[in-house]
Subunit: 349 residues, 2 copies
């Protein structure tokens, strides 16, 4: 089995470096096809690794002296802090010493690193951050989840391509179904941005677009990719968290109001655990940054070891499934077909 | 006690005219300060009223020969179908024979009637449709809920004014707290539209603006009015419905998976009813169309008698609280302060 080298920012995230070190060791133990480079202060990393002799041959530690904090201005920090754990990891990915980047650090800094240090795939205008959403029927990708709050229609069409490439590579779905978030099913629905995006998505031939999806249907997981701008993606994800939390609170309150409710509540506790697990971000793995020329996974800031391990596995699957190659090929198709469309426009003039 | 005349479109809604007729009679029985005019086919209305002799002195039937259906193009239908129940009701409100309009018919047609037949309040650029959202702490208004998908910053600032006027009139809150939906708490957050709207809302002095609210906090009801464009308002409302429905489904599934869950589920059934009631639109009453010169309430298309009754009560409270007068006064303040701001801009040039 071929080995893939994953660059892991040991210093990023609320629980770093304990969670990143423990997650790295877990990932190596569970998947022998993975090699990991941990970037950060060598002494701190070593103090947190515990006994890792069984996987030591596949784990390198790269000593770095700086860190990018949540308070740093992302673009500036990524430009100036050249010996930070995040930037050093990204530079190694750019140079090919590692094939993918994983970090639980600041979202802005990870994005800036992807764009400035690793670089965009040719033709891609805006890299976007995907989030896996646990739908009732299946888990699907929301793209963009918050990176690009002001979008043009062509960005949304690109998000469709990148999302389809990710889902086919990582989950193995042969022809992922892409839909556009909208306030109605008909193609005449929506704001100017979404109406124009719908037309562009309908005309392209690089991925399977099956029309609009209304917010009401989003939680059910009726497609593989939901495309929207970053402002609306943020609403989808944060409102879901808010409602789930509000509903658990109200449910508890309703149950505590009566004796039967209290007894019933105790009996259903184990069932509720399975129910809660459905909404657990630890299980999912991390947000892929799509549109840059190597796989980048942004793990949640509050990630514990399991979430870091799952983020590493996701990066592994992205390398293995050649997500970036698929996006590059798709971009060529999209560019070719929009050139054709422009030619037709010229002829009819 | 003074009596207010409410014009009720008897033919609008999925359950019309049974629900509208029954709702009208219920409203009259419960509130002796109300008079109702029912618009529609006289024979059909009479057949659905049952025995209403106890309230007959406060109920008029206005015979009309046309109806506006869900298939009609709203603007066109409102212009052409001059003897439809909805247009006749709106014309009487314009002429002052009635003080408010209630309809469970097509949202587009009710909006068009408000704008074309009743007319906007001076200075208001875009009337908007509010929806009352049952937050955990309190019920609040989302404005706009879907009428205006493409907005300019000044429309959002107007929505703040109209929402505050509604909440103070109808719920009696003395100085309602207005917040702007956004993807972060800081005023530099958001898309271009929301950033500019934030600045305008901060500068005006017609209502109390207390900053941004993130989607995650929306379900908790931490303010009285949430301002957003109609596209995002639609997401807030429809996604909430979708998640509530998905969560009930998953909860049921989790409970049915084990014997303890099944027994517990039976015990908590009464508690769940109270919980479900929290999300029940029947209780709420209808969506106010704000910015037109008389109170207009759009009841839900699937309204039964109780929902119609509550929509009538809401219209009654809007007349009594002089929502439209408050909006008109606030618009003067907003117009004056933006004229001042423009003058300052000129002086500094």
């Amino acid at each position: 089995m071929s080995e893939y080298m994953i660059a892991l920012d040991a210093m990023g995230g609320d629980n770093a470096p304990q969670a990143t070190c423990a997650g790295a060791v877990e990932a190596l133990r569970e998947n022998s096809g993975i090699r990991i480079r941990l970037y950060g202060r060598e002494d701190v990393i070593k103090a947190n690794l515990g006994d890792y002799s069984d996987v030591a041959s596949r784990l390198d530690i790269i000593h770095t002296t700086e860190e990018i904090s949540m308070e740093d201005a992302p673009m500036l920090a990524v430009r100036r802090k050249t010996d930070s754990s995040l930037v050093r990891a990204a530079m190694d990915v750019r140079e090919g010493t590692a094939q993918a980047l994983v970090s639980a650090g600041s979202t802005g800094a990870v994005m800036a690193c992807g764009i400035l240090r690793i670089g965009r795939i040719q033709g891609v205008e805006r890299p976007a951050l995907g989030v896996l959403y646990p739908g009732v029927e299946k888990t699907f990708l929301i793209l963009d989840s918050g990176a690009n709050v002001d979008c043009q229609p062509k960005y949304l069409s690109e998000f469709g391509l990148m999302g389809a490439a990710f889902m086919s590579s990582v989950t193995g779905i042969s022809d992922p179904e892409v839909r556009l978030l909208n306030n109605g099913a008909e193609e005449t629905k929506g704001s100017k941005l979404y109406k124009e995006a719908h037309q562009m998505m309908k005309e392209q031939k690089a991925y399977r677009f099956t029309g609009n999806i209304e917010s009401r249907d989003v939680p059910f997981g009726k497609c593989d990719v939901v495309v929207c701008d970053g402002f609306d993606g943020n609403i989808l994800i944060k409102l879901t968290e808010g409602i789930a939390s509000a509903m658990f609170g109200l449910l508890k309150q309703s149950l505590m109001a009566t004796t039967a409710g209290k007894i019933g509540g105790m009996l259903i506790k184990p069932s509720l655990k399975g129910f809660k697990k459905h909404f657990d971000s630890e299980e999912v793995g991390g947000a892929p940054l799509l549109g840059v020329s190597a796989p980048v996974v942004k793990a949640h800031g509050s990630s514990h070891a399991t979430a870091i391990k799952n983020a590493v596995f996701q990066a592994f699957n992205m390398i293995k499934g050649d997500v970036c190659g698929k996006i590059a090929q798709g971009m060529e198709k999209i560019t070719a077909s929009s050139a054709e469309a422009e030619e037709r426009m010229e002829e009819t003039k």
